[in-house]
C-alpha cells in the first residue's frame, strides 16, 4: 500500500498500537495491583511497558513530522508547541493547587493523554504556519 500525503498510514497504525498497549497496560496495572494479584516485579515490568509505549508514540510522531512536506511539518510543530504549553500550564496550576489548596491529587501519568487531547483540541485552531 502506498503511503500518500500526508504520509500518515504507518503513523496511524503505530498510534493505534501504542495507545492500545498504553490503555491495556494501565488497566493491567490497576487490576494487578489490587489485592496483590500480580507480584511486584510484574508490576514494574508493566510500568516499563507503559513507558515504552509513550516513548514509541513520540518517536512515531517525530518520524511522521520528518516525512511530511514543509507546510505540514511546520503546522504540526506549531500544534505540538501549543499543546506542550497548555499541558505544562495545566500541570503547574494543578500541582500548585494540589500542594497548597487541597485539590485532589491526580496521578502524574494523566499528563500524557492530556497532552494528546490538547493537541487534538488545538488542531482546528492552528491552520496557519505564519507567526
Amino acid at each position: 500500500m502506498t503511503d500518500g500525503w500526508p504520509r500518515s498510514f504507518s503513523y496511524t497504525i503505530g498510534t493505534v498500537a501504542n495507545w492500545a498497549l498504553f490503555l491495556f497496560a494501565v488497566w493491567l496495572l490497576s487490576w494487578g495491583s489490587g489485592e496483590g494479584r500480580l507480584p511486584q516485579p510484574a508490576l514494574w515490568a508493566i510500568v516499563l511497558i507503559v513507558g515504552v509505549s509513550v516513548a514509541a508514540q513520540f518517536a512515531a510522531a517525530y518520524r511522521l513530522i520528518a516525512h511530511q512536506d514543509e507546510y505540514i511539518r511546520a503546522i504540526t510543530a506549531k500544534r505540538i508547541i501549543a499543546a506542550t504549553g497548555l499541558t505544562l500550564t495545566a500541570a503547574v496550576l494543578w500541582g500548585l493547587a494540589e500542594q497548597f489548596l487541597g485539590m485532589p491529587i491526580l496521578p502524574m501519568w494523566v499528563i500524557y493523554p492530556l497532552f494528546w487531547g490538547l493537541f487534538g483540541a488545538a488542531t482546528p485552531f492552528i491552520r496557519d504556519t505564519r507567526p
Binding site: 512536506d69 514543509e70 507546510y71 505540514i72 503546522i75 491552520r127 504556519t129
Partner: protein
C-alpha cells in the same frame, strides 16, 4: 505571502492535486499557499516556479520590491 498560484493553476486547468503531485507536496500545502496561510521556503518557491516554467517572481511577486507593493 501573495502569489499568482491560483490564477496560474486555473490558466493551465490544473487541480490542486495535480500541482501537488507535480511538485511533491501535499494538497494541503498548495491550499495553504493559495490562501496565504503558509509562506513557502525558497526551495518550494523554486519548485513551483519550475512546474509553471516561470521565474519565481512571476509566481510569488517580491513583497519587498517597491513596484510590487501596490
Amino acid at each position: 505571502m501573495k502569489s499568482r498560484l491560483k490564477v496560474l493553476r486555473a490558466e493551465r486547468d490544473w487541480t490542486q492535486e495535480q500541482l501537488s503531485a507535480a511538485i511533491g507536496v501535499s494538497r494541503q500545502a498548495i491550499n495553504a499557499l493559495e490562501t496565504e496561510r503558509h509562506d513557502p521556503s525558497l526551495d518550494l518557491a523554486y519548485r513551483i516556479a519550475a512546474a509553471f516554467e516561470l521565474p519565481v517572481e512571476q509566481v510569488f511577486p517580491n513583497p519587498h520590491c517597491r513596484r510590487n507593493a501596490s
